[in-house]
């Protein structure tokens, strides 16, 4: 069998976590290459539908990261995100989705090393969880056919 190379989508806030990821890059910290970054204005911008849609489109893991509490560029966006994503994560766990697939984190702009560490940990967890089977589309071929013949 081919080695499992997971797809991970990371929603990083513009002000802290994205800069943290940037710092990890310029500092030449090594971390697995499975993560695809999507920059968002704030962790509070992350609609839980983003997470569902990513899983639905075939992501094996989703990461949301923002500024530490108290550090939000917009004062309170991450506090809202904290409540909402907490409930959402519990909901995903309740319906039986592997808890390893969705992770939330705080990464500041100075935490390049922590960002690399987070990605190493998360990638290992997602690899352990295996390919995303929970949101498999049984009629995916039909969807593709309809999309192509619109």
């Amino acid at each position: 069998m081919e080695k499992f190379e997971p797809k991970i989508i990371a929603f990083l806030c513009n002000w802290c976590s994205y800069a943290g990821a940037d710092l990890a890059g310029v500092s030449r910290f090594q971390y697995p290459p499975h993560v695809r970054v999507i920059r968002v204005p704030c962790s509070g911008r992350v609609n839980p539908l983003f997470v569902l849609k990513a899983l639905y489109e075939g992501a094996d893991g989703v990461l949301v990261s923002g500024c530490h509490p108290g550090d939000c560029h917009y004062q309170s966006g991450n506090y809202y995100a904290r409540r909402r994503l907490e409930v959402f994560k519990k909901l995903l766990d309740f319906v039986g989705l592997n808890p390893a697939r969705f992770k939330m984190a705080w990464i500041s702009a100075s935490e390049g090393a922590q960002f690399a560490q987070l990605i190493r940990e998360f990638t290992a967890e997602v690899k352990e969880a295996g390919p995303n089977q929970e949101f498999v589309r049984e009629k995916a071929d039909l969807v593709r056919f309809l999309n192509e013949n619109r």
């Binding site: 904290r82 909901l91 049984e138 309809l146």
Partner: protein, 322 residues
Amino acid sequence: MRTDDLILKCQEAFREKELDLFLGFERSSSGFLKPAVFTSLESLEKISWDPSASLNLATFIPRFKGKKVGIIAPGCVSRSLVILINEGQVSRDRLTVVGVPCQGLIERKKLGDLKGVRFLDSQNGKFTLQRGGQIVELPLEDYLSESCLDCDHSGPVLYDYLIEGSSRKNPSGNLEKRVKALVELSPGKRLLYFKKEAEKCIRCYACRQACPMCYCESCFVESSEPRWLTAVPEVADNLIWLLTRVYHLAGRCVQCGSCARACPEGVDLMSLLAWANQSVSELFQYQPGLEIGEKPALGEYRLEDPDFFWGGGLTEGKKCCS
């Protein structure tokens, strides 16, 4: 509660408060109550309330913005109204509430085939039906909807006029037990259970239409840019619909069961909604629809909220989920 009292009280409210319209129920041709809008004193003579009603009337409130509206409300409807007021969908001074006692509502799916069935009357914990020329008397308790069996706020929490009468007591606690049983299952079994439920869903969105909290003018399911859902009857799509609806209702749902009664396929919506309410109340000590002026649980925050984020300092070492 006598129907005469109800009519007189509603007419009194209509006259005194100079209402534009009044939301209530009237008898349909099958004898079951159907929602109705009354616009005059005379028409209010047809207003009626018994366990054969199904819909949560607060659902209609956001449609009559700017009008002075009266409404009859048992416990769950009054709680929905509190949330609608808190969320700015209606102002308290344009709303006149006639509180009614509630013995629970019948889940029509429990009655089986409804062809040729006529609802006649309900009294003293029993109700009578006419079925194929025969009159049958059935115990109300066996035919109530799950949310009503579990109801712990059967009397109105908000009213201007109150009709005296006894409301259902002793919530069964079955829903809580069912959620607990689900939580104790392995994640794989839970996923299987919810996928089976999602498979039943035909995405008719009757649950959304019947829900007083689903008042958005445009819903994410109809959005074409971005397109969240495909029109293909796919379990994963159905699951996204069910999950997102539950998430949107977390900490806002009063568990009136209006959606579950409206669902033609009998999808287990109540266990999801009850679970969501339970976790919001555990996390943020929040009960929806009991206090005017309260913000929705997910529309506010506290600095000392539980923090399960990676790299968060507040609750180091604690695991998010069991």
